[in-house]
Amino acid sequence: MIEMHDVYKVYGNGVKALNGINVKIDQSEFVYVVGPSGAGKSTFIKLMYREEKPTHGVILINGVNVKRVRNWKIPYLRRNIGVVFQDYKLLPNMTAYENVAFAMEAVETPHRKIRRRVQEMLELVGLYDRMNALPSQLSGGEQQRVSIARAMVNNPGFLIADEPTGNLDPENSWDIMYLLEEINARGTTVVMATHNKEIVNTMRKRVIAVEQGVIVRDEQQGEYGYED
């Protein structure tokens, strides 16, 4: 469960990215975060896995106050949270395979389990044959899919995806969305920031709309809501 109480985020240079967020996301929910560019979606998401600290307010992940976690314990917190970053954040010196495997090695998974699982994940996102390519040798969409595979490989309790279909064609996007839906059905909480109207309007899940750092809409089975 993710809870935010009266959360504000002011960046070092004075930019007010979030201005009083109150929200509660239950176990196994599927939530879209929508809103214009620069509204604060990524900031909202970064607070959950503690890439950024709130300036004010309390964030609880399964009851743990994220702000209070000591620096060296943060990685352990993150192990239950798979993240698809808006800019992918792949390790440049590692191949697609190694990037995904890294997330498993980091939690000290036995060696023999890693191989099978990583190949399975890369197959799911359609990159089995690009396994040994470095990120710089992959197309934009391929990198994005590696990032998705890495986020899911450890079966985390939370899956947080920031614009995971931004560089994907519709077909690949839908494949990813079915994957997310399936994972969600198995009990993982999914939070996904997106600009993809079609997906939001078709899949009909909870929609949280953020504008200028405040939640302006929060609907179960909502719509994308921004018209052209």
Partner: protein, 297 residues
Amino acid sequence: MKIDTLFRHTREAFRSLTRNTWMTFAASSAVAVTLLIFGFFLVFAFNISYMATELDKQVAVRAFFQPNVTDDDIDQVIAQIKKDPAVAKVKFVSKEDGLRQMKENWGDDESFFRGLEKGNPLPDGLVIQAKDPQKTKALSDSLDKYSQISDKSYGEGVTNNILGISEWVRNAVFIFGLGLAILAAFLISNTIKLTIFARRREIEIMRLVGASNWFIRWPFFIEGSIIGVLGAIIPTAVTLVSYNAVLGILNADGAYSLFKLLPMWPLSMYVAGITTILGILIGVWGSMISVRRFLKV
């Protein structure tokens, strides 16, 4: 840590070194050059300190016997002086030896002494060396008890000068060595910092996907020590080979036999040991402190 994980870290370190060939080369060659300078200095320092010790050995008390002593008297005195635990060496210098030495010292101008051979005015004497050169004066004073000895001298001014110089040289070399070691440590760790700085984004990403601080550190730690070893091999070899060459030249060319240099062994072992240990320690240490900087995200 599981053994599996240790293998993983080692594999990771080697992979990283081979994939970042350029950086590996830059880092280990910087370490090599720094240690080369240090290695040369070490050889120099060991030799200087050795020369200072040799210089100290020149310090001795010269004692002169009464003109009328018998050979028995002399033997007796020598035997007694030898018993003194503070004495390192006693050498008898007959009046003929004394005159010969004097002539040698005088070099070509010896013609002046020619007349003296018949009526040699020099007394028989002894050269006595103290175990601790600093205690030469005490040793000289202790000779007062022998009535057979008429005169003695340990060249007060000169001795103090020699002892002063050799101590001064030893201190200077030690201070310089320490300073150089610190500067070398700084240079090496600085280079390693720069290579890790170039990879700070990677460290941040690792944290973001759930790697613990120690999990991130280990491969860098191993990398640091490998760079240290790589960087120590070449300077050790170069230093020792060129020292050997210098030794060869000096030995072949008798003119320079004034320089008394230390033999290859055990000097080579000291230099290799100190250089390698310094390389590894600083490599590891440099990695550790620089990685820590980026474990904040």
